[in-house]
């Protein structure tokens, strides 16, 4: 009996669901819109014939199939927006609204009648607006579905977009990025934001790291040739504002941009879809061969100007201050160049331009690939900056020169700290600061720390000024007095001879003990390195290692480094011979340039030695 009852109930459930599904199929919103349109059109009709044909019309799915622009598109937008090409509906609200006519879109008015430049039957809708042409309800058609990569540009947002950006991502101007698919001229009047974005791409130095086919060939960052195809404008916006929100490992700097600039950049980037309807394949190929790297105006050769003055212009045109500080302009990313003439010399600057990593092995500065003459001019211009600052107290000096990297609070977190590797020293770490001899700090101040962004202040600051600033640091940040350590027994030079056997023994010890932090490639990027502050040393930083004495290496390995994660390896059973072997291994990674070859000649070799395995 219960079988029959359950059977009856289940059968009725089946019937009800069938009924619901069947009925639901006839409740399409677009049918309502079309019915409303037909009613209105009937009341607007002038002749009987017109009325008759309207009476005969039934709601149906309208579609425009466009094949001439890239992949074929099926746009069914006019199913709901059925009045979009009917001039009588200008006063109606969406979806029964006439698409506006505008001279700026190329529409022409003749005898009171507008004629469209971009006919809907030829172009469809999504080619300008984006959205999902095949969708038949607003959620899908407008691309509000998070799974659709092209929501209506400037009109639709998706639920998972950051609320902070959402309001900024609406506005018809975002559609300029689609105009630029065909109108690729550099300064097309209809796409001012694309033009501005392209300018910013060069002004802000983006081109130094990013490649866009036909525009730039940076290699440090991702290729942006097709960036607009994949990413939605919320991602482009957010990533431009703060790269680390989206990718924790991004080392793209956070630029100082206002909303208008970001919008222009976003529109420009969105327009990079890697295809160009107006171009033929042959055009694209020619562009590829040409590889124009800089837009007109940038780097224009001004004859008869002295090199330094020309360098000044170049610095302005190529927006060095998008990252660097120079006088009152500051990009908050990379070192202050205001006193460069007192800090670096000609050799250093030229070598650094050609290969920044030859001087500071972990620098993020891209290789810009300017001409030799341009580098010469910029170097001359920088070297002409020889006016030392006039700081009276240690505090003034610190705030004027040190705080930009070491931070207002001395915690090593100045505005630029994220982009410097090795990171600026945390001056509040008393354990470190109080155990190192005063001479070491004074030497670092005077001579800088080779292989890092700490410059030599010898010619910028007087002895007294350097002493004052050190006192200021100790008084304000360290707040503890120096500790006298027990005397340490450390040889002045490595007692173990530098032989292949010693290096091999050192490598074995290194692979067993050190790779967790210093990494298998000894580049300081071991698996634990991310959790350690300060980060482990890059032992392939030749400039730094070659400048460091055996005694200091011995001390650091034997007794550890206070205030860092480096432990005292004496406690873990390493003998003096072991440590000697280790030091020989580390030295073997950083061969000294034999008898100082000509500066700048193959700098890569010195810093990029392959690991012997």
């Amino acid at each position: 009996m219960s079988t029959r009852l359950s059977l009856a109930i289940a059968s009725l459930v089946v019937l009800v669901v069938h009924g619901i599904v069947f009925y639901d199929q006839f409740l399409n919103r677009w049918e309502k819109h079309q019915t409303a349109y037909l009613e209105q059109a009937r009341s607007l009709a002038k002749t009987d014939a017109e009325r008759q044909s309207i009476d005969a019309a039934k709601p149906r799915i309208e579609q425009i199939i466009v094949t001439q622009f890239g992949e074929s598109r099926v746009d069914r937008c006019t199913t709901c927006h059925i009045a979009s090409d009917d001039p009588r509906f200008q006063a109606y609200s969406q979806p029964l609204h006439t698409h506006s006519y505008s001279a700026s879109l190329g529409d022409i008015e003749k005898n009171g009648r507008w004629e469209r430049r971009h006919k809907f039957s030829d172009f469809g809708c999504t080619i300008c607006h984006d959205g999902q042409g095949r969708g038949l309800d607003t959620f899908y058609a407008h691309g509000e579905d998070e799974n659709w990569p092209q929501p209506l540009l400037g009109f639709a947002t998706q639920a998972n977009w950051k609320p902070a950006y959402k309001a900024k991502l609406t506005g018809a101007e975002y559609m300029q990025s689609n105009c630029a698919q065909c109108h690729t001229e550099d300064s097309f009047a209809g796409t001012p934001l694309v033009t501005r974005g392209r300018q910013l791409f060069f002004e802000k130095g983006c081109y130094g790291c990013h490649r866009i086919q036909g525009l730039s060939h940076g290699t440090l960052g991702p290729d942006l040739t097709e960036v607009g195809k994949r990413w939605r404008i919320d991602y482009l916006w957010g990533h431009t504002v703060n790269p680390r929100d989206y990718s924790a490992v991004s080392f793209m700097p956070k630029f100082d941009l206002n909303d208008d600039e970001i919008k222009a950049l976003v529109v420009f980037l969105k327009s990079r879809k890697g295809m160009n309807f107006a171009e033929t394949t042959m055009d694209q190929y020619r562009a590829k061969l040409q590889q124009t790297s800089l837009p007109a105006g940038v780097g224009a050769n001004a004859d008869n100007t002295p090199s330094a003055a020309r360098g000044e212009q170049l610095i302005a045109q190529r927006s060095c201050t998008a990252c660097h500080r120079l006088g009152d302009k500051d990009g908050h990313i990379s070192p202050d160049l205001s006193y460069e003439g007192l800090i670096r010399d000609d050799n250093w600057l030229m070598a650094h331009f050609k290969e920044p990593r030859s001087r500071i092995p972990d620098s993020i500065m891209p290789v810009f690939g300017f001409s030799e003459g341009d580098y010469r001019s910029i170097t001359d211009s920088l070297l002409s900056r020889k006016t030392p600052p006039n700081f009276k107290t240690g505090e003034e000096t610190y705030k004027g020169l040190c705080a930009r990297c070491h931070g207002e609070k001395g915690d090593g977190k100045g505005v630029t700290y994220l982009y410097l590797d090795p990171a600026p020293r945390d001056l509040t770490k008393a354990a470190f600061m109080t155990t190192k001899p005063e001479e070491r700090f004074l030497t670092s101040l005077k001579e800088g720390v080779p292989g890092t962004s700490m410059p030599p202040w010898e010619r910028v600051l007087t002895d007294q000024q350097r002493k004052d600033v050190l006192d200021y640091v100790f008084k304000t940040f360290v707040k503890e007095s120096r500790r006298e350590l027990k005397e340490r027994k450390v040889p002045e030079t490595n007692p173990v001879a530098f032989t292949p056997e010693s290096v091999n023994a050192g490598e074995q010890i290194f692979l067993q003990r050190c790779t967790g932090c210093h990494g298998r490639k000894s580049d300081g990027k071991g698996p634990n390195s991310l959790d350690i502050s300060p980060r482990p040393r890059n032992l392939r930083n030749s400039a730094f290692i070659n400048h460091t004495t055996d005694k200091r290496l011995f001390t650091s390995i034997t007794y550890g480094v206070e205030g860092t994660a480096m432990p005292s390896w004496m406690d873990y059973g390493l003998t003096q011979t072991d440590i000697g072997n280790l030091i020989n291994f580390i030295r073997s990674l950083n061969p000294k340039p034999a008898a100082a070859p000509a500066e700048g000649k193959s700098p890569k070799l010195t810093s990029r030695l392959t690991v012997r395995r």
């Binding site: 289940a10 009725l12 069938h18 799915i61 579609q63 001039p87």
Partner: protein, 161 residues
Amino acid sequence: MKNPAKSAPDGAPEDVNRRKLLSWLSGFGLFGSAVIAALANLIFIKPRVTYGAPNRFSIGKPEDFPPGARIALDTRRVCIVRDGDSLAAISTTCTHLGCIVAVSETGFACPCHGSHYDQDGNVTGGPAPRALSWYQLTLAPNGELVVDKDNEIEAGKYLKV
């Protein structure tokens, strides 16, 4: 497999009515569902959009067709005829076996089996069984002519512009 008229086997007499009712209910539910499902599948099979060339398309403004013009749009398989301010769209698909007829001085001629039609599409010779179809031609609100090949009209019915 299912037999809606299934009846109860012998059982206690007082249960028989109840059983019968439940059987009829199940039968009703399942039979009804089957009917709806069959109908729904028919609707499903019938495409609501087509993927080929559309049957309704815009062909431009009336001015594009000067009086006296007989312009065959081969890809669309339609010939636009203008006579003074009267316009019409005549099919260029031969009614015999579906070849594309050519526009000739006297009307239309089929290259496949030699059917001939006059200027209005009436058969004048050859194996063609019927006259060529006339399609509905309307003037859309944006001022363009629209041919609707789904909509055949009687021959000789022109659109006045």
